[in-house]
């Protein structure tokens, strides 16, 4: 255990009498459960680490707590941007608390199932001679410690800033108000959980929570990209939130008002009401949590742990999806083996939670970048007299989408259930290349198709129909890059490799080759894109090479396929 965990543990266990007499729980049990839980927290990858692409399993995770706290500290630092806006505390703190509550909720919502509520407890702790009170108190204390680990570093930068600029009272006031904001956040998370459990079955619960993780990762990245620009605009416009009456319903506004009114003892009636809400609503909502939500919550959670009741009836939605995948496979593949490879990969990608957690965040990043390319400086694009660099933008977008496919492709070969790939090895398949080819097509279609359509429409809209040959060339090159990279780097069957296998030698050369191919194709295209004839010739060559590559992928023999062992 690291120093922070030790401090927290000593701190929460200090009122021993309280637990043993008032709470009827046994302190030795409490100590050992909490110690174990904190050790496990330290070894569990946090949201950010979990979504990293190349998780190295051989490197054991330890001190994950420090990572989590550091992340929170960084988030807390980013909140300081709020103080550069406008010229009054109400405006600044409204932004501050918006960021605070949003990020706190996002980080807690995914932690609640993965860290705080471990369904294995039912099997491991409950058969032991531990009384129920002890288990409940241990769980509450664990949740308390976890929330502290996130909120304390998050508040720290704001606290320091206010102490330095406005004195110690302002700093302490921020901490007090932040405490109420945390209460509200807990209420929101509980409400979200109850809501999710209402609309879905417990089996799907974990899936939905992993979508939260994905959205969380993308949101952080997007805000990192977008916020500074928005800040510029807001500063120029001289934003002042107190002009807006509708803010009365926004909790961050209440917290901001309560800070201002309590610090200065002055403010409009509206601000006083808002300040009042800042204290009453969180307390009321926590009461609702304890009184109504928590019992329902525990009941539902019991369902998650015991709920293996998969409903045999399929919804009509899945029927439809199934039809689409099979029809696509029919159109895009040429024989049974390739068809099977396509369908298998398509369905695995669409359903494997662990694949989604690894790939969707990076796909999200690229989508953010794509939007940035098209919509940032759009004004310049319309006005730009030369339009040289700008009209190449749609093509850049298409080339970038090949990065998405490459990411998906590089993850598509890994799986938790890699052992199940024995099915390919025992099947009478002469050329595994057919399977790989089908898998590639599925990946391309699932990840690049929508982006390509988007780029096509956006390109035509921004630059007119004259750009079409160039778009087609970019399309073709994008496919070419994907296939070339697959041929160099991924002669593996879909979902057949264990996660985090030791990087094989030659990885660097491969990586270099990939970058080189993309740069070369994209670069040549950029040089000639204004010359219609050259574009036509390039398109022809590119198609030829693409055909050749597709052929060689399908001819990959067993001897060339990399096996996990």
């Amino acid at each position: 255990m690291n120093i922070f965990n030790k401090i927290f543990l000593a701190f929460v266990l200090a009122p021993k009498k309280l637990y043993s007499q008032w709470g009827h729980s046994r302190v030795p049990h409490l100590t050992s459960i909490l110690t174990t839980k904190l050790i496990m927290d330290d070894r569990r990858p946090n949201t950010i680490q979990a979504t990293k692409q190349h998780r190295d399993k051989n490197k054991e995770i330890s001190n994950a707590t420090l990572g989590t706290m550091l992340m929170s500290l960084l988030m807390g630092l980013s909140f300081l941007l709020a103080f550069s806006l406008g010229d009054n505390y109400v405006t600044q703190l409204t932004v501050y608390f918006t960021l605070f509550i949003t990020l706190l909720c996002m980080s807690l919502v995914s932690d609640f199932t993965s860290v705080l509520i471990d369904i294995r407890d039912t099997n491991i702790i409950l058969p032991k001679p531990v009384n129920d009170r002890t288990v409940v108190v241990a769980r509450l204390l664990h949740i308390f410690i976890h929330i502290c680990k996130i909120t304390i570093p998050m508040c720290l930068p704001g606290f320091v800033y206010l102490v330095v600029t406005a004195g110690i009272v302002a700093g302490l006031l921020l901490l007090i108000i932040a405490f109420f904001a945390v209460l509200l956040a807990i209420f929101l998370i509980n409400a979200v959980y109850i809501f999710i459990l209402r609309i879905t079955t417990p089996e799907k619960f974990k899936n939905i929570i992993s979508y939260f993780q994905i959205v969380f990762a993308i949101l952080i990245y997007a805000s990192y990209q977008v916020l500074p620009r928005m800040m510029d605009e807001i500063t120029v416009k001289g934003l002042d939130v107190s002009d807006n009456q509708w803010l009365m319903i926004a909790p961050p506004f209440w917290f901001a008002c309560s800070f201002n009114t309590l610090l200065t003892w002055q403010g409009s009636p509206v601000e006083w009401v808002a300040a009042f809400m800042a204290f009453v609503v969180p307390v009321a909502s926590i009461y609702v949590v304890i009184k109504y939500l928590a019992p329902a919550f525990n009941q539902k959670l019991a369902m998650i742990s015991g709920g293996e009741t998969a409903s045999p009836s399929r919804s009509s939605g899945t029927e439809w999806q199934k039809g689409v995948a099979e029809r696509l496979a029919g159109w895009l593949t040429t024989n049974k083996v390739e068809y099977t490879g396509f369908l298998f990969t398509w369905k695995m990608m669409a359903r494997s939670r662990d694949f989604k957690v690894r790939v969707y965040p990076s796909v999200g990043y690229f989508v953010v970048i794509l939007f940035m390319i098209f919509f940032r400086n759009k004004g310049n694009m319309d006005a730009g007299p030369d339009g040289f660099i700008f009209s190449f933008k749609p093509m850049i977008a298409i080339y970038l989408s090949s990065m998405i496919v490459t990411t998906a492709m590089s993850q598509m070969v890994y799986s938790d259930k890699y052992n199940a790939s024995w099915v390919f090895l025992i099947a009478p398949v002469r050329q595994p290349g057919q399977i790989i080819s089908g898998a590639l097509k599925a990946t391309l279609f699932q990840f690049a198709f929508w982006l390509m359509v988007f780029s096509l429409i956006a390109g035509l809209w921004l630059a007119g129909p004259a750009v079409l040959p160039n778009l087609l060339l970019a399309f073709c090159n994008q496919l070419l890059i994907t296939y070339a990279i697959a041929l160099i780097g991924f002669k593996r069957l879909p979902f057949s490799q264990p996660l985090g296998v030791a990087q094989k030698s030659g990885q660097f050369v491969r990586g270099f080759a990939m970058v080189f191919i993309s740069m070369l194709t994209g670069g040549v295209h950029y040089l000639i894109y204004q010359n219609a004839l050259a574009v036509g010739v390039f398109l022809f060559i590119s198609l030829l090479i693409l055909g050749g590559l597709m052929y060689s992928i399908r001819k990959i023999a067993w001897a060339e396929v990399e096996n996990p062992e």
């Binding site: 030795p28 049990h29 100590t31 050992s32 459960i33 110690t35 174990t36 050790i39 496990m40 070894r43 569990r44 054991e60 471990d118 294995r120 099997n123 491991i124 702790i125 058969p127 032991k128 001679p129 531990v130 009384n131």
Partner: protein, 195 residues
């Protein structure tokens, strides 16, 4: 149970029970040593008692070299051994085993079977749940066959044999529980190729 009202004092009852679940469900980011210490402390064992028992049990199971390795890399059999140790660490009077042999290698199976009969000789009560009828037949003093939640047979293996004719436990079980003829099911499977 041993003079304890299970309803009123479940905790005291649990203290005397060692439960070994079937699914290798444990906190696998911990090491065996950490996990077993945790388990021991939940049973109220002193740390040094735990330490010496863990050392001895893990040595007996041949896991001593792995005692400080995280269990996420362990095979199913290794996890099963740790689970067995966790259920026995407090020397319980009553032991509940749910498919304890699953995933174990042949030598460990022998060790565990031997262990079960020695524990029984020591006067411990053992509940052994399994679908492996040939093992049940050998290790049990009293056999209860359950079909869809209701008891269909209860008695020693000898008594069951007398009741149902001189058959193996597997055959007795099939006779008592199978609604349709099992031979028919096999025939149906064969006939599935017939189109």
């Amino acid at each position: 149970m041993q003079g304890i009202d299970v309803k009123n004092d479940p905790v005291e009852a649990k203290r005397r029970i060692g439960y070994i679940p079937e699914l290798a469900e444990l906190y696998d980011v911990l090491t065996p040593s950490e996990f077993l210490h945790f388990m021991g402390s939940l049973y109220g064992l002193e740390a040094d008692v735990c330490e010496s028992r863990i050392g001895k049990m893990m040595t007996a199971f041949g896991l001593f070299p792995n005692i400080h390795q995280r269990m996420d890399t362990f095979s199913k059999g290794m996890k099963q051994k740790v689970l067995l140790a966790s259920g026995l660490i407090h020397n319980p009077d009553i032991i509940i085993l749910d498919e304890p042999l699953s995933g174990l290698d042949a030598n460990s199976v022998i060790i565990v079977k031997d262990l079960i009969s020695k524990l029984a000789k020591d006067g411990k009560t053992i509940f052994y749940c399994s679908h492996m009828m040939d093992v049940v037949e050998k290790v049990s003093d009293r056999i209860i066959l359950i079909d869809n939640g209701s008891v269909v047979a209860d008695g020693s293996f000898e008594a069951l044999k007398q009741q149902e004719g001189n058959r193996s436990l597997e055959q007795i079980f099939a006779r008592l529980t199978a609604k349709d003829n099992l031979g028919q099911a096999a025939d149906d499977l064969i006939n599935a190729f017939g189109n």
